[in-house]
């Protein structure tokens, strides 16, 4: 666009009123705002922070913290080792080794023999949770994740399942009922071959 384009519209900043040009009424209004906050925190206990080790902050339900691997009603790992989460992960922090499911698990072909998440590599984007077709991986509200070494921060299957045990009461699984079977789902989507 050229500088003398007739369609070009020039917008002037709004003119300041006399009071605004003197600053003082505006400053007084600003002092009122901060004054309210000071009085609110000092005398009415309106601080929005919590005293951390003694009080625990409860994050919102969609907070994305440490991962957990969900268990089904038979206390088995829900994961079917489909690798969708590892594929979706932009940080490549999920490492799954799949194996054939034991014969006593008739509802699936595979299960994860090992499931490792590098919590230091993870960017907590929640893509794994979204990619998972069986709601097996979820991000919990645990935000105070610490460790003394890098090795400690690499979570294996046992640890991820123990996170589920620790958080399942406070945060029930986001989808209690198992999602509709794969057959029902594919019927609803128009196939490109049709």
């Amino acid at each position: 666009m050229r500088a003398d384009d007739p369609k070009l519209m020039r917008i002037e900043p709004p003119k300041l009123t006399l009071a605004e040009r003197f600053f003082l009424p505006q400053i007084a209004a600003g002092l009122g705002v901060t004054g309210r906050h000071v009085v609110g925190v000092a005398f009415q206990k309106k601080a929005i922070t919590v005293q951390y080790p003694e009080e625990q902050h409860v994050p919102s339900p969609n907070y994305r913290g440490v991962h957990r691997l969900n268990k089904d009603e038979h206390d088995r790992i829900k994961c079917v080792a489909c690798m969708l989460c590892a594929t979706a992960c932009p940080a490549h922090c999920i490492d799954i080794v799949g194996a054939s499911a034991p014969a006593s698990w008739p509802d699936r072909e595979k299960y994860p023999e090992s499931f490792v998440i590098d919590e230091l590599r993870c960017i907590y984007c929640g893509m794994c949770e979204e990619a998972c077709p069986v709601e097996a991986i979820e991000l919990t509200g645990l935000y105070d994740l610490t460790g003394l070494s890098r090795e400690q921060m690499i979570f294996d299957k046992t640890k991820l399942l123990s996170v589920f045990d620790a958080t399942k009461d406070a945060e029930p699984m986001k989808y209690a009922a198992p999602p509709a079977g794969p057959a029902a789902e594919t019927k609803m989507l128009p196939s490109p071959l049709d």
């Binding site: 600003g30 906050h37 925190v41 929005i48």
Partner: protein
């Protein structure tokens, strides 16, 4: 004669130690006010194990940290000036207290609450000392041999020189009305008539704005401006040398608050209750308390403003001084002089 000297030394010791202790707690108060303004709680842990509430031991912890930290002197600084700068900063801030009356002063009083009593150029002295503070800052910036520090120091010197003019002119009105440069005479005049803020409202506003600029406090803290200049003139300073700049800044805040209260809010005066003819111990203590209370309010106000207003842009800062404050101060001065000449002298 010897006793007078001992008395003065004692007064200096008392004033300096009280001022430094107050500064330590002012930093605590500042952090609390900052926290409250931002809906936080602020420091509240130090001293909890000893049963001391509200984190009141925080200043001690801060001081211990300042003293015990490693004192890094970068290899590229100009050492003599680098060492001298914080000393100038703190000394310039401290000797301003010499003429500040902390309570009633006069021949009828039991004691002169002033290190150098009845100096008839009190205000001139304060401003002379106040201008010295700029040496501390510009030496720090220059000796640090660091571009951020240097930019901070440049800004600071330009700012202090610009705001010195409206600062001095804004109080001249009060000086004309009271007819004296002696701070005690000004207080006594306000005690007889009314507080300065009522006869010199414009002078008061100009003084307040310029005083904020003189103390390098927000909204005029361009010399430091963390976001652009790292730390400004004290970027290269660590441990207690940095602490001395910090102390200097807060001592300036105390001095400016005392001056504001003495010039415009009647000093130790409490209308209808206290006046200059009262002598004796009780009234003296009462006056000191009243003055301290007013100064505390003033300091709180300065902190309150700090957490309300954002920093000025550099050209806006200069515009404000040269295009608004100085013309206003001139008009105020001429008008006051005319009124004093025409009305007071004819009586």
């Amino acid at each position: 004669m010897l006793w007078v000297a001992i008395g003065i030394v004692l007064k200096i010791l008392v004033v300096v130690s009280i001022a430094l202790g107050t500064v330590a707690y002012l930093i605590y108060v500042e952090r609390k006010v900052a926290a409250y303004a931002q809906d936080r709680v602020g420091p509240n842990r130090a001293g909890k194990e000893l049963g001391i509430p509200f984190g009141l031991l925080q200043p001690l912890a801060d001081g211990a940290k300042m003293v015990l930290k490693e004192d890094v002197i970068p290899g590229y600084v100009s050492r003599p000036l680098y060492m001298l700068a914080p000393v100038i900063a703190i000394v310039a801030a401290m000797i301003g207290f010499a003429v500040v009356p902390f309570g009633p002063v006069g021949p009828n009083q039991i004691m002169n609450f002033q290190i150098a009593p009845n100096i008839n150029i009190g205000i001139l002295y304060v401003f002379a000392i106040g201008s010295l503070a700029v040496y501390g800052i510009i030496l720090a910036g220059w000796a640090s041999n660091n571009k951020y520090a240097f930019l901070g120091a440049l800004r600071s010197s330009a700012q202090l020189i610009s705001y010195e003019i409206p600062l001095a002119m804004s109080i001249l009105g009060m000086v004309l009305i009271a007819g004296s440069l002696d701070l005690n005479q000004i207080v006594n005049w306000q005690d007889r008539r009314v507080w300065g803020v009522f006869v010199q409202p414009i002078g008061f506003l100009l003084f307040l704005v310029s005083a904020f600029a003189e103390t390098n406090r927000l909204p005029f803290d361009l010399p430091e401006s963390e976001q652009e200049l790292v730390g400004g003139y004290h970027t290269e300073y660590s441990a207690m040398k940095f602490g001395m700049f910090f102390l200097g800044e807060y001592l300036h805040v105390i001095t400016v608050s005392y001056l504001t209260v003495i010039l415009f809010f009647g000093g130790w005066d409490l209308p209808f209750v206290l006046d200059q003819n009262q002598a004796g111990f009780v009234s003296a203590v009462f006056k000191v308390m009243v003055l301290l209370f007013k100064v505390a309010l003033m300091i709180l106000f300065i902190m309150w403003v700090r957490w309300t207003l954002p920093r000025f842009r550099y050209d806006q800062l200069m515009d404000l001084a040269w295009k608004s404050l100085i013309p206003l101060a001139l008009v105020n001065l001429v008008a006051t002089a005319a009124i004093v000449q025409l009305i007071y002298s004819s009586r």
